[in-house]
Amino acid sequence: MTEPIIKIDAISKSFGNFQVLDGLSMQVMPREKLALIGPSGSGKTTILRILMTLERIDAGHIAIEGEQLYHMPKNGGLVAADERHLTKMRQKIGMVFQLFNLFPHMSVIDNVTLAPMLTKGVARAAAEKRAMELLDMVGMSEKAKAMPAQLSGGQKQRVAIARALALQPKIMLFDEVTSALDPELVEEVLNVLWKLCAETDMTMLLVTHEMGFAHDFADRVLFFDRGKIVEEGKPDEMFSNPKQERTQTFLRKIIAAGHRV
């Protein structure tokens, strides 16, 4: 039996007095495509940010490929992970942000080559060759020399995806990567995600409000509410026949708001 690539075990997270996650557990299998859906404020972003080590957890454990993310073994026990351990663990994980977070002072290609050169010691020529392949894959090779400010939102997001891919993470986290885009630009980004889904064996966690896309893309859908998994299942069951009252209400609202399912 294969081991889960991500094993989240009873994690808790508060911001001040506000508890977002309270003993959440979940597992993700290698190569699995997971869609995380749920109402605003339910903690979807927080989960991805925790996996990317952008937020710390208050309690619980996370293992990536069997190795602790926030803890490391010492003298027979576990202690809090230090920066070096986190650096090692982050190599397995990449993230694409809602607002792209490109480096505005660098050209498209420099955005993509920077991290492989700095963190993996890849030579410039090799990094650029690889970057051009990735930019080609996301349909942005013609804009390699452009600055981010010269691009549309959809183009920026495709560059951001290429940038994250350049480090060859095993797990990719996508946080509402089309939410900030004009409707006519959403498609071009979703097409790239499709390609990744079909052509790579990355494990992908996708937070989205695009229910139609989640339905087609995901192997499994998790519905979150108030930091808890209310319901999970295959996309077909989840969307056509949700069991839980809260899931039904949420999906009804989303459809009423004009999202395709």
Binding site: L54, R90, P104, H105, T119, A149
Partner: protein, 219 residues
């Protein structure tokens, strides 16, 4: 008839000293600004404390006292400086303290999403600072750095007090030798202004160069 060209060349000799002080003082100020500005943002309390102490001390005491200290007191500690060295030291440390706050403010103005992109790309803190944060913050700092450099230029005249023959010092010599006030002071007025303009336009040119592409304008 007074021979003004001889006196003019005297003032120009002083102008060379003023330029030297400005250039070397600004270089030192720039280094101190980054050392202390980044120091104030350090994770290490000791570094933060040192940087704060430096900044508050040099902003809280006058440039006169700092200059006199560098020139007259340091020799008792076995450090004898030439007037030029003492001038550069005092000016550089003084203006550096002000510019350190500019560095700090500019770095804090860069959004946290840039730091988060760094973490997601597994850059180290230092790589993130050097390659992502500081280059963007530099553009924010530049205009104020220009003001700091002009402040420094104007402050260089304090060195006449330790008898370094800068532009103001020479103008005073010319005044006392000729009894004429208009010629020497009009001359240095124009020269100070010209130097300040050179600083202003250089900074603007640099700013335009660095901002290229950031605003989405093709070029």
């Amino acid at each position: 008839m007074t021979d003004w060209s001889g006196y003019l060349s005297l003032i120009l000799q002083g102008a060379v000293v003023t330029v030297q002080l400005t250039v070397m003082g600004s270089a030192l100020a720039l280094v101190m600004a980054f050392v202390a500005g980044l120091g104030r943002l350090s994770r290490f309390a000791g570094l933060r404390w040192l940087a704060t102490a430096y900044i508050e001390f040099f902003r809280g005491t006058s440039i006169f006292v700092q200059l006199f200290f560098a020139y007259f007191v340091l020799p008792f500690a076995g450090i004898s400086l030439t007037p030029l060295q003492a001038g550069v030291l005092a000016l550089g440390l003084n203006v550096g303290a002000y510019a350190a706050e500019v560095v700090r403010g500019a770095i804090l103005s860069i959004g946290k999403e840039q730091y988060e992109a760094c973490i997601a790309l597994n850059l180290s803190r230092w790589q993130c600072m050097r390659r992502i944060i500081v280059p963007q913050a530099l553009l924010v700092m530049l205009p104020t750095f220009g003001n700091n450099a002009i402040e420094l230029l104007k402050a260089t005249s304090v060195v006449s007090l330790i008898s370094l023959a800068d532009m103001t010092f020479q103008a005073n010599i010319v005044r006392s030798q000729t009894g004429n006030t208009l010629f020497p002071f009009a001359t240095i007025l124009i020269l100070y202004f010209a130097f300040a303009m050179i600083i202003t336009f250089s900074i603007r040119a640099l700013e335009r160069r660095m901002a290229r592409g950031l605003d989405g304008v093709r070029n």
